[in-house]
């Protein structure tokens, strides 16, 4: 009799111990991931914060590590983001509108467009670089190693992000809004332009910012389309040669290991600058999402 009651008590305790151990293991895994992010940020701040000052932002790169700055890279990145945004906003939003409001899902060509966008979202970024090199820099368009070619390459790369988030934003507008508008005699386009789009702008803007924050950190495609590594002027037009923050970081890291000058702190300072821009963009996206999110 006593043996059975012991057995009944013993089972739940060992089970509870196992449960607790598993819970601890789960938290440890999460802890390791967060710890790595913390160490990474700490390392970059420690290496770079000493160099991140007004001089660094306003000077051009130089052989001498003390005098070097990232002005050309900062302006190059701003130009790239501008071109990228001008390209992805109309094309991405128009595609999202077509797929949500017009396309008949039963048609094979509309399904093809959808699967195609899903696939494009997962194509490695360096393959977009090859596309840019073969079609934009050389070949049919022959734009050369210009900031226009770089911006368009990044635009093609992040276009699926804008389309996918744009579609979600448009889908979130309830059908009753459309039906109300149509019932008052508006055409389909008037309904979209005056009712659906204004209601989904916060979601679309969030998607655009997230797309740009992905584009701003991309290095590989810019290497392939021929961004310059040593450049001492800002882009002056669409046909200007350019460099960008990630490219500047890459070139400084590669130079660090074989020179009397130590370029590593410069790379870290540029990384800090890039991360600050990223955090600002993401904060705006989160703020937009929380401020204007509508519950219908």
């Amino acid at each position: 009799m006593s043996a059975t009651s012991e057995a009944i008590q013993a089972a739940p305790t060992s089970r509870r111990a196992k449960d607790t151990a598993f819970r601890l293991a789960l938290m440890a895994c999460l802890g390791v991931s967060i710890l790595l992010l913390g160490v990474l940020l700490y390392d970059v701040v420690r290496d770079g914060v000493g160099h991140l000052d007004w001089h660094f932002i306003t000077s051009f790169t130089s052989i001498s590590a003390d005098k070097a700055g990232a002005q050309a890279a900062i302006w190059g990145t701003i130009w790239l983001m501008g071109i990228c945004a001008i390209f992805i906003v109309p094309v991405g939003v128009a595609t999202a509108i077509y797929l949500e409001e017009y396309a008949d899902n039963e048609r094979w060509y509309n399904r093809l467009i959808e699967v195609n966008i899903q696939n494009l979202a997962a194509v490695p970024s360096i393959v977009y670089g090859i596309l840019g090199l073969a079609f934009l820099v050389r070949g049919p368009l022959s734009l050369g190693n210009t900031v226009l070619a770089g911006g368009l390459t990044l635009g093609l790369l992040v276009l699926p992000v804008v389309i996918i988030s744009g579609r979600e934003a448009i889908r979130a507008v309830p059908p009753s809004i459309r039906e109300g508008s149509m019932a008052l005699g508006a055409t389909q386009w008037q309904t979209i332009w005056r009712q659906v789009l204004p209601a989904s702008i916060p979601g679309i803007a969030t998607g655009v910012i997230l797309a740009l924050s992905r584009a701003i950190g991309e290095t590989a495609p810019l290497i392939v389309v021929g961004a310059a590594t040593v450049i001492a002027f800002n882009p002056e037009g669409l046909d200007s040669p350019f460099t960008a923050l990630p490219i500047q970081i890459f070139s400084w890291i590669q130079r660090a290991s074989n020179d009397i000058n130590d370029y590593r702190p410069l790379a870290a300072a540029a990384i800090l600058l890039l991360m600050i821009m990223l955090i600002l963009m993401n904060s705006v996206a989160i703020w937009l999402r929380n401020r204007y999110e509508q519950k219908w």
């Binding site: 293991a25 789960l26 991931s33 128009a94 490695p124 386009w189 950190g217």
Partner: protein
């Protein structure tokens, strides 16, 4: 949207008004915008195929796919175009990354989906999103200037080269971890509550519910998460380029430099290879191989995701 196309059909039988002409014009403009993405795919495949075919005009296909020596930039007789060392480097680095990312990512997903309170989840998910948003060049910098010298060499006393596959692979694992964790968590959260309640009703513990009910039920989504992670690791350029060195290597030793398909493209295209040279064509042949590998994985992943959506939604 069937109503809208019906309305358009009715309108066609009438004489077009300025308003209906405008509506039709808008639709055409929208369709042409959505063709940009289709055109992108066509141009990717077209550019890769064109130069790759021309590459195979100079190098036999079998030499490329089955050759074990990769030295395409050497002059004349010394040049060799066997892609296996690059393929091995790609798979090997991805494997190291997965050994880190699969256990960590899936356990994070189980914690977030089954164990974490809503408030905890609300703070942890943004942290994982930040990790996902860190540019890969930053991970590369970290692997090369901190992880290899400070952790692997000084702290763990491992005899590794400055450029080595181990550091690149492990850091790449942390890069893909948020992808795996978030897709897997979506799949687990989509498992209906009734399955969990049924198991609890039969006396199962939380551990048993998580591992024997939710995990198997979400398996197709979890597979999709892993395949997506592999596809990101295979296509990753900057971490490998910075931290794993630029030597195509057949060896099994993770302390040596290794090169992947993507890193080779990054290293070679950075120089100004003239159009039409064999060096230029090599970039496209390697790019084609990379594109095909990732395409197959993406299609598998999309299929698995669709499977779990069909079951529960």
């Amino acid at each position: 949207m069937a109503d809208a196309s019906l309305a358009a059909g009715v309108r066609l039988t009438r004489t077009p008004t300025p308003r209906s002409r405008f509506e039709a014009g808008v639709k055409i403009a929208l369709i042409s915008a959505s063709l940009v993405s289709v055109l992108t795919t066509v141009c990717i495949v077209g550019s890769l195929l064109f130069e790759t075919l021309s590459f195979f005009g100079e190098v036999p296909v079998s030499d490329f796919l089955f050759g074990t020596k990769w030295s395409p930039t050497f002059a004349g007789e010394q040049a060799s175009f066997g892609v296996l060392p690059l393929l091995w480097g790609t798979l090997y680095l991805s494997l190291i990354a997965l050994l880190v990312a699969i256990p960590l990512g899936l356990l994070c997903a189980i914690y977030l989906s089954e164990y974490a309170k809503p408030r905890v989840r609300k703070t942890i998910k943004p942290i994982l999103e930040i990790l996902a948003g860190v540019p890969t060049i930053v991970f590369g910098y970290f692997a090369l200037t901190f992880f290899t010298p400070n952790i692997l060499q000084d702290f763990l006393h491992l005899k590794v080269d400055l450029f080595n596959a181990l550091a690149a692979g492990i850091i790449m694992g942390f890069m893909i971890l948020p992808t795996i964790a978030s897709v897997a968590e979506d799949a687990m959260s989509a498992v209906p509550q009734s399955l969990r309640e049924g198991a609890y009703g039969l006396g199962a513990s939380k551990l048993q519910v998580s591992l024997r009910v939710v995990f198997p039920a979400a398996l197709s989504g979890i597979v999709a998460a892993i395949v997506l992670g592999v596809s990101r690791a295979v296509g990753e350029t900057m971490i490998v380029l910075l931290a794993a060195g630029a030597v195509a290597n057949n060896a099994l030793n993770p302390s040596e430099p290794h090169q992947s398909l993507a890193a080779f493209i990054g290293a070679t295209a950075g120089g100004d290879a003239p159009t039409g040279s064999i060096e230029y064509k090599t970039i496209f042949a390697v790019g084609m191989l990379l594109f095909v590998i990732t395409l197959i994985m993406n299609l598998i992943s999309i299929r698995f995701v669709r499977k779990y959506r069909q079951v529960y939604e």
